[in-house]
């Protein structure tokens, strides 16, 4: 699918992935020729069993994992070919939220948010914690948005899981990203908090008019919050369509077996 979009100039699509291969061990590819196009908005859920390459796919997009071959075009620019300063500039445009939050535990909430701006300031300013006043204002505004207004000076390790993930999302938004990635953002959270986090991700995607791509295990959450669902199996795209088109037959083909379906 998306062959028409692939051949067109990519001015419209926020992200185009072409023939993406990744093999950690030569000859054993984890991703086997992924072709995907993401428009300017909307929340996409990527589902699939553990070990099918969801996380690798997401990490290839911001080059936390080096793709073996293929193209990843962020607003028309091939990220795979970038290096050094240009790669950092591209990474600034991609926000990322992690399963284990990945906050710097011993820093305060405000400092954690400001780390989202480290790509934009020089090393000396970073060293002296000299952030532009606009960044600090932006950080306070985001803390209001995620409901942590009074937590600016608390250490990150004093927060609960849900609060930490809100800080994680706020940190990603500090980058003013053109694309938001989330790698199983709710897998360590309780069901209620999971819903709140998904709501926040969807809202922020809409508010900032950017696409959001979320890896997730919870099929029900995916159905509820995603505009589009991508099902992965054995390093390939097994399903790609509207969340409403995801029926039990599709789930069987994505996850295999059926005893787990009720």
């Amino acid at each position: 699918m998306n062959t028409a979009a692939d051949t067109q100039p990519t001015t419209q699509a926020a992200l185009v992935i072409r023939k993406l291969f990744k093999a950690y061990v030569a000859g054993q590819p984890v991703l086997k020729g992924i072709d995907l196009t993401f428009g300017g908005t909307g929340l996409t859920a990527i589902i699939g069993a553990s070990g099918t390459g969801k996380s690798t796919l997401l990490r290839c997009i911001n080059r936390l994992v080096e793709p073996t071959s293929g193209e990843i075009l962020l607003e028309g620019e091939d990220i795979v070919r970038l290096g050094g300063e240009q790669l950092r500039a591209a990474r600034r445009r991609i926000g990322m939220v992690f399963q284990e939050y990945n906050l710097v535990e011993r820093l305060t909430v405000m400092e954690n948010l400001l780390t989202g701006r480290l790509g934009t300031i020089g090393p000396l300013d970073a060293w002296l914690r000299r952030f532009p006043p606009a960044d600090i204002e932006h950080a306070f505004a985001l803390l209001d948005t995620v409901g942590l207004a009074n937590f600016a000076n608390q250490r990150a390790d004093s927060l609960s899981g849900g609060q930490r993930q809100r800080v994680g999302i706020a940190r990603a938004l500090m980058q003013e990203p053109r694309l938001l990635l989330a790698d199983e953002p709710t897998s360590s959270l309780d069901p209620k908090t999971s819903v709140e986090i998904m709501e926040l991700l969807r809202e922020q995607g809409r508010a900032n008019n950017i696409p959001v791509i979320v890896n997730m295990h919870d099929v029900e959450l995916a159905r509820r919050f995603a505009d589009r669902v991508i099902g992965m199996r054995n390093g390939e795209v097994a399903f790609d369509g509207a969340a409403t088109a995801l029926d039990d037959g599709m789930l069987r083909s994505i996850y295999g077996g059926e005893g787990w379906l009720q």
Binding site: R92, F98, L103, R106, T115, G119, A126
Partner: protein
């Protein structure tokens, strides 16, 4: 169905090969101790009258010559503390870069890691006293040689432990800040440093504590400090003064220990 019962499954902690290796290691250990005991050549006559000799020494040391402290010990003691403190600070400045280069996660270049480790091992493989002899030969006797000896011995200690602390950091925050486009400097300061901070100060204080004790003996080879006073008293058989020096060192070590414990409590 007793006849259909499968053979009782056995579980062993070690396989046959592992057991053989373990036996060989134990054997080697015993052989080493026996061989070492032979080569030390303990002379029984000296061993038998050791208690007497010890008693004699202690009697000669009493009473401790406290009057000697202001004129003969105090200046040396202060110099010892200065040698230990400046030596630790100098070592720190030199050790941090090597620690950063030795950490395999921060510097993923095996030849660089190897080079950094080589430098750190070289520093540690030479005892403070030997460093002191070297620097006394180069700079002449005095506190400068002592400070450099302390510093050069400490580089290996601080660099190795700082490098290991860096290697033990969680990679999550590093990944997150990399994803945000942070450069190497920003990564060190925001992702690594907050994680190693308690270990770092703990390591530095421990080394300072060790250096206070080590610099107390550097005077024996002419590298300044209270060891000079000890050397003089020993050479002149002034045992009451030797006792005074030992008491002074003991008190300083106790005070250092108390101070380090207090400071460490605050920073962790």
């Amino acid at each position: 169905m007793p006849e259909a019962r499968p053979e009782a499954r056995q579980w062993r902690r070690f396989g046959a090969g592992e057991q053989l290796v373990r036996f060989a290691v134990y054997l080697l250990l015993v052989a080493t101790v026996v061989a070492a005991g032979r080569s030390v050549e303990i002379i029984p006559e000296f061993l038998y009258d050791a208690p007497e000799q010890m008693q004699d020494l202690l009697v000669r040391m009493w009473p401790v010559d406290f009057a000697h402290y202001p004129k003969g010990v105090h200046a040396g003691l202060m110099e010892t503390l200065q040698i230990a403190t400046l030596g630790t600070l100098l070592a720190l400045v030199l050790a941090v870069p090597f620690g950063l280069l030795a950490a395999r996660n921060l510097t993923p270049l095996p030849p660089v890691n190897f080079f950094a480790r080589l430098v750190l091992v070289a520093s540690r493989s030479v005892n403070s006293l030997v460093w002191a002899l070297l620097f006394v030969a180069v700079f002449g006797p005095g506190a400068l040689a002592g400070m450099l000896a302390i510093a050069f011995r400490s580089i290996g200690f601080l660099g190795k432990l700082i490098g290991e602390a860096i290697e033990e950091t969680a990679k999550g925050p590093v990944e997150a800040l990399t994803a945000a486009g942070a450069g190497t400097g920003a990564l060190i300061w925001y992702a690594y440093w907050p994680q190693i901070r308690p270990a770092f100060w703990s390591i530095v204080l421990l080394r300072w504590d060790i250096n206070v004790r080590e610099s107390a003996v550097l005077g024996l080879v002419g590298a300044g400090g209270i060891g000079m006073a000890l050397d003089t008293a020993l050479n002149l058989f002034q045992w009451e003064r030797v006792a005074m020096v030992l008491v002074a060192i003991f008190v300083v070590v106790i005070i250092a220990e108390l101070a380090v414990t207090q400071v460490r409590k605050r920073i962790l």
